[in-house]
Symmetry: C2
Subunit: 358 residues, 2 copies
């Protein structure tokens, strides 16, 4: 049975990417061994790394005054590295709190200085993104941190705040899902395991001046400058993960880049929200209309028993990963770049049948 | 042409492991997708993680009062995490300095408290391991840190010091190459990319009481307790890397465990050292006889020009990775567990022919 994968992350990767990686797994570029068996200092891997860099720079139109680096530890490591590297003495770190991942980033920053939460939807159970135009980070803040898409609560920024201090964005769950003006940000980070590749690394896009803030007491491996000054090769990088990022970004380019990707993502999300909205209240999406995520669509059913039954029957029908996050329950379909329109059609069909049967 | 891989890390993996991973790359356990596309919280991945844990515990005979965890960032991250987590106020951190990696660990520890180097072979260009019986770490030190094998200088501990404070060992380059009494150590860490799997994670074996030292100011992701309390699942772990560790450790068990592995490694190393020693000074290994590594065999040729020629001709003959570390030059053959006797025979043949021709 063909399986449709709606995992929230680690998530489905494009079928063409998986097939190519499988094909050359034991013999990369006719070198006689797999890319994961090559030295990170060999020209064969260097070409892979440079390809990933060039692809990301081209696809996201990353300006020349930004570096692109790969850091192990995913977004959770960035929750620590951002304040360790960017906190300036006497200048607050400011945050918008739009869910679990924002809250975790806030918690870690408190170890390194004063934190101000200047916008939050916590009191409304994170059911929306506060109006970005109403967010006013201080001009002299160390930085202002947002979470561009919230996997657990199914919300996503549709526009970004104006910000004179460096704006830092956790884009783990929607990077490369739509065009973004990188020059508005000081630092963008994203755990790879949704839209970029396998778990085990974060892609970090950092304005060069910010990489130089390094307080003296930060260990070498936790300094951004260690990565920017060594093209991510100070220590052994996660070579296979970077290779997969190079393949996924090749695929994004093959698709036609972010304008095409965004159009596909919009189409998938619209189909799914339309199915929810047309269900006469059987399926309920709790998110404010202007904050709905195109990456993670969440919904509730009339009872938790029906939700459990929905998950059970969906698995039997060949659909993976539809159970909502364990902290909130309900149903969640993660429809990242690699999820096909066919997969969403299959899900919508299943939803309609399930509703008629229950 | 068949290629023989002597890379220092990332290194060759067992052929059987690579073939199995390739076969099930896109469809793991008939689940319809690859293991890297599965959620880290799904029972399919949980079984992989538990399998890796159980294999390591069995192979290394890890006592019950130790936890086994997987942490991103390789050994370089451990250089920071060890002192961040284990430094006790007023108690020095003690080190034996046996090479580049020891020195890097020492440098990072200095950020977190008083460091004492109680044994060193630095003045003799790291050509030997100081007699472990002569190392006397303080009973009340925060910890005593050694590097069990030194990839760059080709040295390896043949026995371990007695130590009443927790002994911490960087075993990145010789873990699972021979039986070791884990109970003599407080913490063992190893970047995976030599004997355990691909780059992108370290395996950490930690005595339970040490995981609880956590100073209050250490970020969540950098605390050992975060990993031990959550079976390495606090955040998304490097799932594919852990899967590869599970396959490699399956393979170690299939070989007959560490006694057999050690015998094979000894045989390979003896062949190579014998070829060097029988070369009438053409090949010179600078390491003191009692400190020679069975994992990384280094040697010099009469001139740097001949060394360059040796590397060039070896590549043409299908042998990868024989160039010495860029910091020291010369030749290095890394003969980790996965390197076959056939590969070493091929190399020894090549060395003899090269000597006759030059």
């Amino acid at each position: 049975m063909k399986v449709y994968n709606f995992n929230a992350g680690p998530a489905m990767l494009p079928a063409a990417v998986m097939e190519r990686a499988q094909k050359e797994f034991c013999n990369y570029a006719d070198s006689g061994c797999g890319i994961m068996e090559h030295s990170h200092r060999h020209k064969i891997f260097e070409a892979v790394l440079n390809r990933a860099n060039e692809n990301i720079r081209e696809i996201m139109n990353v300006p020349e005054n930004y570096d692109i680096v790969y850091i192990q530890g995913g977004a959770s490591m960035q929750f620590a590295m951002v304040p360790m590297n960017l906190a300036l003495p006497g200048k607050p770190m400011e945050f918008a709190d739009t869910g679990t991942w924002s809250s975790k980033a806030i918690k870690e920053a408190k170890l390194f200085g004063e934190v101000k939460v200047i916008a939050s939807s916590k009191e409304d159970k994170y059911t929306y993104i506060p109006d970005p135009a109403s967010m006013h980070p201080s001009d002299d803040a160390s930085f202002f941190h947002i979470t561009s898409n919230n996997t657990i609560f199914g919300t996503q920024y549709q526009s970004f705040p104006e910000c004179k201090c460096p704006m830092v964005a956790d884009m783990s769950s929607d990077i490369m899902s739509r065009p973004v003006d990188v020059s508005k940000f000081g630092l963008i980070y994203a755990g790879a395991q949704k839209n970029l590749g396998p778990a085990g690394l974060a892609v970090v896009i950092i304005r060069k001046d910010l990489a130089e803030r390094n307080p003296a007491n930060v260990p070498t491996i936790l300094r951004y400058s260690t990565y920017t000054q060594n093209n991510s090769l100070y220590n052994t990088p996660p070579t296979f993960g970077i290779y997969m990022v190079s393949l996924v970004t090749d695929w994004v380019k093959d698709q036609g880049g972010l304008t095409v990707i965004e159009a596909n993502n919009s189409k998938k999300a619209e189909m799914l929200y339309a199915a929810i909205d047309a269900s006469e209240g059987f399926y309920r999406n709790p998110v404010k209309a202007d904050s709905r995520s195109k990456m993670n669509v969440i919904w509730r059913l009339p009872t938790e028993e029906l939700e459990a039954e929905f998950v059970k029957e969906s698995v039997a029908a060949g659909m993976l990963g539809l159970k909502g996050h364990r902290s909130v329950g309900g149903i969640r379909a993660s429809i990242y770049n690699a999820v096909t329109l066919e997969g969403v059609e299959k899900l919508v069909d299943f939803m309609e049948k399930f509703r008629k049967n229950h």
